[in-house]
Amino acid sequence: MNLFVKSAGFLTSVQDLGRTGYRQSGISISGALDSHALRVANALVGNDDSAAGLEATLGKLRLRFDDKRVVAWCGGAFSVRLGETDLPPGHAGVVAKGEELIMVAPEDGARAWLAISGGIDVPLVLGSRSTDLRGNFGGHQGRSLRNGDELPLGTREDPKERRFPNRRKGGDGGLESAAPWVSEWSAPAPWAVTAHPVCVLRFVRGPDWARFNEEAQTAIKGTPFTVTLDSDRMGVRLDGPDLPRQDSSDLLSEAVAPGTLQVPPNGKPILLLGDCQTIGGYPKIAHVITVDLPIAAQLWAGDPVRFQEISLAEAQALVREREEDFARFRVGISLRLE
């Protein structure tokens, strides 16, 4: 019923869909930076959307399980093995008692989300199991994982033997081979692997768009920016063309959110992510659309990024479309799991 962390990797934390409802107390959303990827992985192993999983950064993760579990992952172009067997992104696989899951550094992208049947059963803090890494609460002891940690897994029905056999059938269809079972079915490829070699983030105009002059409004559309080293779960920091403002007046702090592209006085924009603070006083030139936040979650130092403007109506239509597709995907998966 436990998960043993043999190697915690660069930065791995327990995350679910985030902690909503506490902005008035200044509490960040936290949660999986790509909540869609976590939902897809959860669906693949038969969990509810809101089950807690792991967010791994740059891999180097090794986990051992003390009972049989179904696992699945989505995210960057990582390579994951169950023992010696490859577990491709967006597929379900079975880890038997005592077996190891190994995730190695990605060829492309930065983060991956791993779902485990039953979910990670850390206590709910303010309605969420997400780790608030800045506030040091939630998740596993309010911190990222360390080598030697032991995490409780949720109790659930044993994975159905018929649906999730321990072993793959051998070549003659009779004898069990030594390899763990991996599903033939999978999530749609764009949901399973979210790292893109050419990164274009679509945006709608931010509340302070008009405070920037024409040079900035032109530069933000199409000129490449580069992700800088000091990026983290709070935000992707960017280096690129100057983004001059019309005025230099100080603004009162107001609500910001993951996706907000704010420009501090040094002119280097910051794209806010899940751990961002709840309010901010820097002008908000643009806001990256919800369905492109998964791409933003894969950015790492040195990556090039471009921005492309779309209308608010289009941005919202894309969210609706994705949610409808996800609902159909969930139905399809549940038919396979029943």
Binding site: S25, G138, V204, S253, A255, G259, T290, Q316
Partner: protein, 236 residues
Amino acid sequence: MRIEPLGDSALIVRVVDDFAADPEASLNAVLAALRSLEAAAIPGVTELAPAYSTVGVFFDVAEVARVAPESQPSEWIGAKIEDVLKDQPVEGDESIEPRLIEIPVCYDREFACDLDDVARVTGLHAAEVIERHSSAGYRVACVGFIAGFPFLSGLPSELATPRRAVPRKEVPAGSVGIGGGQTGVYPRTSPGGWNLIGRTPLSLFDVRQDPPAILQAGDRVRFRKISRQEFDAFSP
């Protein structure tokens, strides 16, 4: 009142145009708008986030689309917000009486490592700084920066002191500081650049409580000067 999109899943409601012209009335108006929006429970709205002159309204696009499939979600939510707030008096509802929360503060030297700097910048004696800080009435303009950190408006203008040129890596929990024209309390040990003039033994933030932050936007706050003995003996 103006309503502007913050991305595809939120709107910012600008309740008043000029906060600085009358912070007291502005906060009343924002608090009244917040209460009305809470009571209205607009379908699809997931969260409300007040700060100074605005209320951020967060919503679930897919949920709004289920409720109003023919509408564009932000236009639909925006129209609902206008409906709720259109009858609201600009200066806020007189019947809403903000809570008053008293925060005990020990201004002893040990906790007030920047008191001399504040005295020098303001041209006041240290004792006067303490006297004026602890006798003024404040309002929580917003909570943020770090979880549970209250930005208080109402600092007597003569006490305004620029933030420290180099922020401290570690400010102890409970520290009371002045940052520009505002004052605030660090709810937990964290980095910070405000000038520290005292410390409260009161815990302002606890994730085991709901809500976890004692202070919420709109609350009235007073600081009560306490001795070192009272600080040590304090139990909430």
